[in-house]
Symmetry: C2
Subunit: 200 residues, 2 copies
DNA sequence: TTGCCGCGTGGCACCGGGTGTCATTAGCCT
DNA sequence: AGGCTAATGACACCCGGTGCCACGCGGCAA
């Protein structure tokens, strides 16, 4: 496969990153993450393998988009949360809001998340990304409950809410027509109420 | 570094696996997972690199011991659980019991878990191992609640209880003299009660 | 215009994890 | 003794990731 546009050295590239992401997503979705080499992705995007690794630290990073901005937004939402609201409620609300995408972005999100939650190598890698999210949440809970970020409860809230969110994403992926927000709210409702669906 | 015992080809090896695990654990703990090559581990254990990968599918697998047996025991505990007990309680109890180690095994467990939860590459890899655990738990919850393994609630229980268990392990690692069971019970108590520690 | 410089780029060599293949060797069975 | 099985080790290879260097474009100053 050859390049659509030949890259010009010395030029700021202007949209190269997005083009590489598209090529990566397409190839990974089509043939599977492990079956595609970084050489092929780079080639499809019209850059060299070496340059690919200047845009993305690892092969896996090419599917995450601007995840750092996502985490930053979550952090802002938590910082702006009403202190009168319960801590756990604020965390869940922030998760719901940060994942409130406009309709046009949903297909891309689906593609990303399908890869991340389906491909073993990407699922493993996700743990490293989600660790950043956990730290943000744990820090917030610690601050609100006058504890330390490394205490059991802040970490527990971070780990379990994130697990719930991930599970909601899985459910969303399985049902093409469902709304992500509904799954998230249902998952958090179960979690915060101690799984009432299991009472019998 | 040279071998303690030179391996004899054709002989069943008898304890080679355990020797490799020890060498790996020692080296990883001493110098860090990524800083040690599989060549060095193999050499320290007196085998070739190629043979190392016959005992362990990946470098990371050398720190997990017989994890499949661990998962199998959890599955048995769940199968033998009292059907009169609440589902969630059975899952938590099984987690506590499967992690009820005799004192002599605790230092080894600490070493393993410290590596797994501290080294980024191992933390990422852990996701793949824990996915097996999640499936076992989700299957049990689905069976008890007349649902499917892929439904939201079974997956949710599996993901959140496992997240709670992992968090308990982290707390245990931070406190040298604490009991793992105490952390697990406390984490599960918080989880199943909807985090009462956060009420204010 | 000429010459210099910064920077994105690509080529290349290298490292390390992981795999397929093949020859070697020992124990065992007949 | 001869043949079979199974564990091993050597070798070549693939691929992700990195360090290094040379190239070429645009911009800037003289």
């Amino acid at each position: 496969m050859t390049a659509i546009e030949t890259a010009v050295p010395g030029v700021p590239a202007e949209g190269t990153r997005a083009r590489v992401e598209r090529a990566a997503l397409d190839l990974f979705t089509l043939r599977g993450f492990e079956q595609v080499t970084t050489d092929e992705v780079a080639d499809a995007a019209g850059i060299s393998r070496r340059t690919f690794f200047r845009y993305f630290a690892t092969k896996a990073d090419a599917v995450w988009g601007d995840f750092a901005a996502h985490v930053a937004r979550l952090e802002e939402l938590l910082a702006d949360a009403d202190p009168a609201q319960p801590v756990l409620g604020s965390v869940c609300a922030a998760y719901v809001e940060v994942n409130d995408y406009v309709a046009a972005e949903l297909p891309l999100l689906r593609e990303r998340m399908r890869l991340i939650l389906t491909e073993p190598a990407l699922l493993a890698h996700s743990q490293l990304r989600y660790a950043e999210v956990d730290r943000v949440v744990a820090r917030y809970v610690a601050a609100r409950s006058a504890g330390r970020e490394t205490d059991l409860v802040p970490r527990l809230v971070a780990a379990t809410t994130r697990a719930a969110a991930t599970t909601a994403f899985q459910a969303w992926l399985r049902d093409e027509r469902s709304a992500l927000g509904d799954h998230l709210r249902q998952a958090f409702a179960e979690l915060t109420a101690g799984f009432p669906a299991l009472l019998r």
